[in-house]
Assembly symmetry: C2
């Protein structure tokens, strides 16, 4: 299994809080013109001129949102940044900066935080977002990551959740469900490892699923693609909690209903094969599994021709009047009410 | 002692994550013109026109940053907002928005979070900052609060830590050390309470100190005061970790030295009396105790007449050439090197 092979251990208290922040952030470069002042003062200073500022924030808790038994720290750092950037993409804005706050118990040596920051740095370089601030402190238990992402957009570019009309088409980017099945694979391997630490798992058949779980990407490319296609979605959200949960958000806020078509769901062959192997229904996973970080949006019916056949985009349903409700239309052509069974962290709490 | 007398308990999982956010934030009103879109989408949208955006973030952990045995949740909510707003004030900017993320173990019923949010709402109304987003999730242990504060300023108004010159005067607002002594009083009462839960403490003699600890205020008034006095500080920081630690930050970043005068430290009579009662040196506490949230800044020597005698401002020292180092000049006129003994959370970690 994935193991931390780093044997070197430096106690965090040797550096102190300010020394630690300086040490961890020393490889970060400012890349955005809008970053006037980054780390090092009471606050960062940004200059967005006449554009709108977009802000989103997330809190990730060890044992609730991630399990370090199969999530390497570098991947965790990368994924934490991606999850936040994805929220900025879901506004059709461009991510520009993040702040990163960490709390760690003394179980974590400096080398562990360096690994985490490697992933954060990798993502910040890849997505060209500046790390402009943060806080590093101790926790009573485990690792806690709080990220705030900042982005920028012209007013007319922004897309909210409440703009869908009852005749719009429902579109999703990429494919869905794979991140959840990747988690199932990793969970299974963790159990195998606990029984036999010498087992050498062959994970080749699940490579895509595991990558979707451990190293997801934010769809920063979609804004440009939609511009090129000359399509402006009427509403948009990212898929973090699961497709059905996100559809419910769009419908509730836009006051519309929806018909989702089971046979239109974009599923990767590896995903389908693994669902069969696990003997679970792929549609159930595709609509309820989270963490795909794809974008879900609605477009005017008249824009159908513009996106038809685009390999990045799948039309998976259409909006209806609110009174018609929210349904999935199965392959057998029966209509089943859709329920948001998205992940609810509050059900998993214990102390 | 301060006790949670709220006996009603509603399990958080009954509301779910989205229900919980809606419930907690329903009393919040948008007050800032710059808040285009608050809670309810993937991200909030802000419009600062041609002004600069200022951002600061903080992570507060139960058992590390606060002890619920003597910190009522409502006060905690208020103080968490104040601590973040104070960072915006330290840039000479005006706080306008905050995001609030919470993680709680299932030890906390809904009523506890309502109490916490009461304090957050009180502070957001008092300081006219909009709560524009956040995240609510479960924790493995205790309460975790992550706040990001956003503010606005014209470029020429902003004051950084690195602008002090070697002939500048060092000025502090209000008085210092009281918040730390308030904590000592509360710690003592907690011990008394543990031995005898029926004891009725008489805290009247410590009222100011306890208020400074439990309900500090951010100096949002200083920006206006300085404008009226026609003084623009050359550098500025807020006192969260302790005066000596903050002086070191200004000196390091501005590449100057400093002479701090013991007899100029602004101390409240209640603070001095209590230090005597505890038999500890008031100067040591005044320069090392944190959480006062006063502002520390440097001004040009020529501005001396403009601030002289102002009851809100005390001149406590002057900057020197970097090579002269950072010292406190005692009442006995001896020079002692100043060391930053500010609070370091990383030394207190355990798991």
């Amino acid at each position: 299994m994935i193991e931390n092979k780093n044997q070197s251990k430096t106690d965090l208290s040797q550096l102190g809080e300010f020394g630690l922040i300086q040490h961890l952030t020393k490889n970060l470069k400012i890349q955005q013109e809008s970053t006037t002042k980054g780390i090092g003062d009471d606050a960062a200073v940004l200059n967005f001129k006449d554009k709108k500022t977009v802000i989103s924030t997330d809190l990730l808790i060890e044992g609730v949102h991630f399990d370090l038994a199969y999530m390497p720290l570098k991947h965790l750092g990368y994924k934490a940044v991606v999850a936040n950037i994805s929220d900025i993409c879901a506004m059709n804005a461009t991510p520009t900066q993040i702040t990163v706050s960490l709390a760690v118990s003394n179980r974590f040596p400096l080398e562990a935080l360096e690994e985490l920051y490697e992933g954060i740095t990798l993502a910040s370089n890849f997505y060209k977002v500046d790390v402009i601030g943060g806080d590093t402190t101790s926790s009573q238990k485990g690792l806690i990551i709080s990220i705030t992402a900042i982005g920028v957009a012209d007013e007319e570019e922004l897309i909210y959740r409440d703009g869908a009309q009852d005749t719009d088409l429902l579109v999703v980017t990429g494919d869905i469900g794979a991140a959840y099945m990747g988690l199932q694979i990793l969970e299974r391997e963790k159990q195998v490892y606990l029984v036999n630490p010498n087992s050498q798992p062959d994970l080749e058949a699940y490579e895509y699923l595991i990558e979707r779980q451990l190293k997801p990407e934010a769809r920063t490319d979609i804004k440009k693609l939609l511009e090129e296609l000359d399509v402006k979605p009427t509403s948009m959200i990212d898929i973090s909690d699961g497709l059905s949960s996100e559809i419910m958000h769009l419908c509730t806020q836009s006051k519309v209903g929806c018909n989702l078509y089971e046979d239109k769901l974009p599923l990767d062959p590896q995903f389908i094969n693994t669902c069969e192997e696990f003997n679970i229904d792929s549609t159930t996973i595709a609509i309820n599994g989270g963490e795909d970080y794809e974008l879900l949006f609605t477009i005017k019916m008249g824009d159908f021709e513009k996106i038809k056949g685009n390999p990045n985009l799948s039309i998976i349903g259409h909006m209806t009047q609110e009174s018609e409700g929210v349904h999935i239309v199965t392959r057998a052509n029966t209509k089943i009410p859709l329920k948001a069974q998205g992940w609810n962290s509050l059900k998993e709490s214990e102390e």
